[in-house]
């Protein structure tokens, strides 16, 4: 042991992760401990197996969609950064030349869009909508019911009539929604 003192230098690339994601040092350290605790065999990344051990995740209907790949610590933090509550700073103060922070409204929407857009082609097709819906309801709903739900949803959001929902259409259909509140996980001090 002999772990005297805890500072960001112990986390590999700690400073650059902090800048990119906007987490405080203390939060980053807690996430790092959590990452290490989940990474049972100390592989340096989280595999599907590690995540499956979490009971509350395994019962989440979207649980199997999460983590098909290996997630290393920067990736782990980047995903969580999308859920960081929006800072209360004055938006006018932000330097417009810097890249948009990961937890901005647009980026949160992009994250949610990617949960639907399984083949990453920039559009949610009816087929992809069906697949995600099927994940969420399991075997409880018949194929016809599911198809009609998918059709209705795509039709309502689709404005240019191409039968699929692009990112802009997706964002437009959710413009009244309080994304910041729904997609926020606040890390306690």
């Amino acid at each position: 042991m002999g772990s005297r003192g805890s500072h960001a230098a112990r986390i590999p690339d700690g400073d650059s992760i902090r800048r990119e994601t906007g987490f405080s040092q203390a939060s980053l350290l807690r996430l790092y401990h959590r990452f290490r605790a989940l990474d049972r065999n100390k592989k340096g990344y989280l595999s599907r197996m590690d995540l499956q051990q979490i009971g509350a995740l395994a019962v989440n209907p979207l649980g199997c969609g999460v983590g098909n790949l290996r997630v290393d610590f920067p990736g782990f933090v980047r995903v969580l950064a999308h859920f960081r509550p929006v800072d209360d700073e004055d938006p006018g103060m932000r330097d417009p030349k810097e890249p948009e922070p990961l937890n901005s409204r647009m980026n949160k929407l992009r994250f949610a869009f990617q949960l639907y857009d399984l083949d990453r082609d920039g559009k949610i097709s009816r087929h992809e909508m069906l697949q995600v819906l099927r994940l969420m309801v399991g075997v409880q709903v018949t194929e016809e019911q599911l198809e009609s739900i998918a059709d209705r949803t795509v039709q309502e959001a689709d404005e240019d009539g191409d039968g699929a929902v692009s990112f802009l259409e997706f964002a437009k259909s959710l413009e009244k929604m309080d994304i910041e509140q729904k997609m926020s996980i606040r890390i306690l001090k």
Binding site: M1, A37, Q53, L115, L188
Partner: protein, 433 residues
């Protein structure tokens, strides 16, 4: 040779001291008060250390206070509230926000995985192994720590190992001898004496300080005693105050020798590994045991695995189907003096015992609770939950519905289907299709 004579003299004085001060009192169940003095000194030292640490650490780094608080702010509203959006209850694109948020919250902090690692301490207790967040404070503190290491490893450890050795050998020899006698009340009395003495010696081998509460509810013959499980030492702690019949698998090696010796003196219930899979056989044998009112109460740990003593997990219903009176017992360790939790994926038995013997002490509280029986119309699962709640409340532990088996196995699919059912009812059952 002078060196050898000197060593021989020291050894014999040492052993005589041990005999008089520890072994003899154990036979009679009397305490000489040495451990109390030790504990008092220990408590004073740890208090002093805590004050030094608090003075030394700058106020901004509030990390150490975060040990007992959650990582994230949880919003525990049920699915219906979390999903309601612009329109009523139909499916909408935003539903995915709720599930992804819940999923990520679970990844960052879930109730279960944290129960399988040792509890974090609020303030350092001068053991290297609990030094996670604490920085160098002062020379005095470090000196005390070094002194502590010397005392623990060079004074306490040999003493404890000697005691443990004596205790186990006495147990094996004693029970084998008693086992030669024909069945009679003398045999029972002798076997109780042997068991109690050896357990007391072993507890002293760990510098255990145990407080028993509500001794009037101590489990009676013909009943079943259930308790929460933190480590193999739980057995020692309970048997110091009364004799139980134990239930378990037959092991090989040292454990096997102990098991075979014990069963000669009094009827424990040991199963072969193959027999454990057959639940009806297990239930039958246990039923036979408790039907005989002269036999000792059975000791069972329904969680099935070691949990870190901050919570109580699901009780397996098997023990509650046998019938008979259940005597619940709550065990709570004080982590300040030594962490009793056995993390079997991290430490094997020997390193675990070594850690136990190099801690300051094992301090715990044992609460005996009034007996419970299964009520009319209550099935085994509900009964198990009722007992579990009672134990959790008494011991000041939180209650979790999850299965301790999650340490090693995956969650059953039925739980996920529950969630899916709930969600489907919402988006389909509202007739707007």
């Amino acid at each position: 040779m002078e060196g050898a004579e000197l060593a021989g003299k020291i050894l014999s004085t040492w052993l005589t001291l041990v005999l008089c001060l520890i072994l003899l009192p154990s036979v009679f169940g009397v305490s000489l008060g040495i451990s109390e003095v030790y504990m008092k000194i220990l408590v004073k030292t740890l208090e002093w250390a805590t004050i030094r640490i608090e003075k030394g650490v700058p106020k901004e780094s509030g990390l150490k206070n975060s040990a007992s608080v959650g990582i994230i702010q949880r919003d525990e509203s049920p699915m219906e509230k979390g999903l309601s959006g612009l329109r009523g209850r139909d499916f909408e694109l935003s539903d995915v926000f709720y599930f992804s948020k819940k999923g990520l919250e679970a990844i960052v902090e879930d109730e279960v995985t944290q129960r399988f690692s040792s509890e974090e301490l609020v303030s350092w207790n001068l053991l290297t192994r609990t030094n996670i967040n604490f920085q160098y404070i002062s020379l005095r503190l470090t000196t005390v720590w070094v002194l502590g290491v010397i005392v623990r490893y060079c004074v306490l450890l040999p003493l404890r190992v000697t005691l443990a050795f004596i205790g186990i050998s006495l147990l094996v020899i004693g029970t084998t001898l008693v086992g030669q006698l024909p069945d009679s009340s003398l045999k029972n009395w002798l076997s109780e004496l042997v068991h109690l003495t050896c357990c007391r010696i072993c507890v002293r081998a760990l510098s255990g300080t145990i407080h028993y509460h509500n001794k009037q509810y101590r489990p009676q013959k013909g009943g079943i005693c259930v308790a929460n499980h933190t480590s193999p030492i739980d057995v020692l702690i309970l048997t110091t105050d009364g004799c139980y019949a134990m239930v378990g698998q037959v092991h090989g090696g040292l454990m096997g020798i102990i098991q075979r010796a014990m069963v000669k003196a009094c009827p424990h219930v040991w199963f072969e590994r193959s027999e454990m899979k057959d639940r009806h056989l297990v239930t039958k044998r246990l039923k036979e045991h408790i039907a005989d009112k002269k036999k000792l109460p059975i000791l069972i740990f329904p969680e099935g695995t070691c949990i870190n003593n901050t919570s109580v997990m699901m009780f397996k219903k098997g023990s509650f189907e046998i019938g008979g009176t259940i005597h619940p017992v709550a065990i709570k360790y004080n982590p300040q003096f030594g962490d009793a939790f056995w993390n079997s994926s991290k430490y094997n038995m020997v390193s675990y015992l070594l850690r136990m013997m190099t801690s300051w002490a094992i301090v715990c509280d044992v609460w005996y609770m009034p007996p419970m029986t299964r009520e009319e119309g209550e099935d085994a699962v509900q009964f198990a939950n009722r007992v579990k709640s009672a134990i959790a409340v008494q011991g000041g532990l939180t209650e979790l519905p999850w299965d301790g088996g999650l340490k090693r196995a995956k969650v059953k699919d039925t739980f996920k289907e529950e969630q899916q059912k709930n969600y489907s009812k919402m988006i389909v059952g509202n007739g707007s299709l």
